[in-house]
Symmetry: C2
Subunit: 315 residues, 2 copies
């Protein structure tokens, strides 16, 4: 798999941003650790999802590209697929619930994707996608459970180790496990001694339970503010990878997620969405014990104005 991540890096060259690594003297002083933030909020479409979408879509056959692709997501993956479709001139269709936030629907439409809305009370997104796949010949690019998507996301950690050489610990947010498993594979190959820890909201702790019991747990619409982690479970591909390459999983409270978003906003001047702030939440709440050189993946920065206003007002 590591070869696939190195190949993904070559594939992304000149298309994805090599995102900066930021530090904070104040935070290092406060924690006694040396913390390095990999800023995927500065990635194209504002999240790491561009990496996986570009890697997967650019590898399709000419025939697949000509027929077009489909995905189901109301979040960052939808925007990534839509933008990559525009860049590579591939027709994209995004299946979204009719109650998806206006701002996300508009952003996705703005990149030129077709939006198919469905009523989540009456049908499932999988059913709609499957029907369109067979009817129109679209190829499905799922948000995480796909080898090329995982490899693309893994380039995040590959870049980080290329810049920093070694780390004692790497903290990665976990939703469906695409980013986490890709980063864990890159990490174990670049620096086998670095402990890779996946971070989930306490309210959406399916992957943490799955990791500790080695049996797949699921959650349904968990009420966490970290909307990127509301996925029902790890996937067929990501679950075994997480079991094999990840050292531990930890959870954080909603309160600590909001504290981390505030810290990044006020002290570091970074716009980071709640899911993106999980790693810092783990450090600030001592879900992991800080020390040594810690890498933290800030996975994205797509936060709605009212969500941020509520978080900033919560203090």
């Amino acid at each position: 798999m590591f070869e696939n991540i190195k190949a993904a890096k070559r594939q992304l060259k000149g298309h994805a941003n090599i995102t900066p690594v930021m530090t904070s003297r104040t935070l290092n002083h406060k924690t006694g650790a040396e913390i390095f933030f990999k800023c995927e909020n500065f990635q194209r479409v504002g999240a790491f999802k561009f990496r996986g979408a570009y890697n997967a879509m650019s590898r399709l056959s000419d025939d697949q590209k000509a027929r077009g692709i489909i995905t189901h997501s109301s979040g960052n993956h939808a925007q990534a697929v839509a933008l990559v479709g525009r860049l590579l001139k591939i027709k994209t269709t995004i299946v979204m619930p009719s109650n998806a936030p206006e701002i996300k629907r508009n952003a996705t439409k703005g990149y030129g994707a077709d939006i198919i809305e469905y009523d989540p009370e009456k049908t499932t997104r999988e059913e709609i996608s499957e029907n369109l796949k067979s009817e129109k010949g679209y190829t499905l690019i799922p948000p995480y459970d796909h080898k090329d998507v995982v490899s693309g996301q893994g380039t995040t950690a590959l870049e980080l180790f290329e810049e920093l050489n070694t780390l004692d610990m790497l903290l990665v947010p976990c939703g469906g496990g695409g980013l986490l498993s890709g980063c864990a594979i890159a990490s174990k190959n670049m620096d086998p001694d670095c402990r890779v820890i996946g971070i989930e909201p306490e309210l959406a702790d399916d992957a943490t339970k799955s990791f500790h019991t080695k049996k797949l747990h699921t959650v349904k619409n968990p009420p966490t503010i970290a909307d990127g982690t509301r996925t029902p479970s790890l996937g067929k591909i990501t679950f075994p990878l997480v079991l094999k390459y990840v050292d531990d999983m930890k959870t954080v409270t909603e309160k600590s997620i909001m504290e981390a978003v505030r810290y990044l906003f006020y002290r570091m001047k970074l716009v980071v969405e709640p899911s993106g702030a999980l790693g810092l939440a783990a450090v600030l709440s001592r879900a992991v014990e800080p020390g040594g050189r810690i890498g933290i993946v800030l996975s994205g920065g797509n936060i709605d104005a009212d969500v941020l206003a509520n978080i900033l007002a919560d203090e």
Copy 2:
């Protein structure tokens, strides 16, 4: 003066951050220009003010350091002086109006400064400062009208040209003219062909008027959202420097300042205060015609939560 800026750079080494330069493909595409943002929102205390304060205070004599320093400011300069005081073990006293925002008073206090409050209805900050200067032997470090402060701020542009070599245009926010004049001096020495343009809010256009008429104009408490530019006028030192080294001055509306803050927030995931967004406001509103390689100084990121919430809700 350029020698002083190069000396300031040596003085700041290891103390100030070498702030990153950020770009946006979307913005370049939209404007047809190549735009480089010098991110002083990532400077220590969240604004360029750390540069001038550190340069000026670290050059004081041992005797001056032992007696302590005083300044009057309720903004970023106050926080910068307070932090530098803590770093260099110099006692600092900040004269602030009793109606200064709680958040700024607390941040300044947090760095260990003594706060002296005054009632702006009954007395002036200059009067209070003068009394304390003669009574206690404090040295005054003003927010902009001071040679070492100007030289410190000039390192912002020096770093930018060291990284980018040439620019066609450099856009710098203008309050009291410390940042603008320092950056203009550095710019004219590093790349004489680069046009340096100072940007002010239309509602606080004293420096623009002063520049065009060559006579000092003043404003009193202008109601602009860009609080860093509410200074009454250019200074005795900065006015002649602005006349000599700056190529032009332009103004922008409150609406365009808010649009720029929103753009930086949503599209670039950067927290930038209204004064810091003046350069981008000039480009987005076509107060300057974009083209070629444009440097924009994002001067700071200290924005209150409620101000940002209002700006984001204004769209």
